[in-house]
Amino acid sequence: MNYYEIIFYVFAVLTVVSAGVVVFSRNIIYSAFALLFTFTGVAGIYVLLNADFIAITQLLIYVGGIMILLIFGVMLTTNVTNVEITTQTLKALPATIVVAIVSALLVSTMVSTKWAVKDPISVESTTINQIGELLLTKYLLPFEIASIVLLIAMMGAAFLARKN
């Protein structure tokens, strides 16, 4: 085992185990904080996939932004001082069966399919240059639409969340 494999398995276990804690924990606060580790593990996986810019973006937006929002949401909508912060599950048994079948199908498909794999040796030092070029040429229209979407989301959230 070389270092790449060891680091990969560390991040893989971190991601999947903390995602399991997110899903199966009874306490929603524990779930929120386990989600933090899941996002960090996913960022590490992005680094292993030569996506340094996406990893940084993941850390900034997910860990720094969405996590804080989710924790705010948890604390504003649950009575933290009281005991009622556990969340119940609905129809756990049929959901478990269906989700297990879906996951097993997905995993077996992923493992058994012969993917058209190219040689992954060509490692660029960074992909930021290419990403910026693509964003301003091929993906210019989605890029501009994304800015409008973010503006509308901000206005809509401010409008929805204020009192009266």
Partner: protein
């Protein structure tokens, strides 16, 4: 595993597991914020797929650009959804998805 060396399949398996866990959270949890967390897990699984195919497949850097758009939409979705959830909490005093079943109090 067909081969022991870390390859495309390893990353795809991780993303499948994340997708399954996120789907489980979305389907079974009553708390609306837990449902949101499940959706975030599903989006992360999709992103891992995009970036894995960017490295190993024939997708090129386009995969990373698409995952940036996914992250943007996830942020916008989380903001709007949390605003809606806070409004629901103000009106119904609960965020359990199965108790919110009327349009007007």
């Amino acid at each position: 595993m067909p081969n022991f060396q870390i390859g495309l399949t390893h990353f795809l398996v991780i993303s499948s597991l994340l997708f399954g866990l996120g789907l489980f959270a979305v389907v079974t949890r009553r708390n609306a914020i837990m449902i949101l967390m499940g959706i975030e897990l599903i989006l992360n699984a999709a992103n891992i797929n995009f970036i894995a195919f960017n490295k190993y497949g024939q997708l090129g850097v386009d995969g990373q650009v698409i995952s940036i758009f996914v992250i943007i939409l996830a942020a916008a979705e989380a903001v709007i959804a949390l605003a809606i959830v806070l409004n629901i909490y103000n009106n119904f005093k609960t965020v359990n998805a199965d108790e919110i079943d009327n349009l007007k109090e």
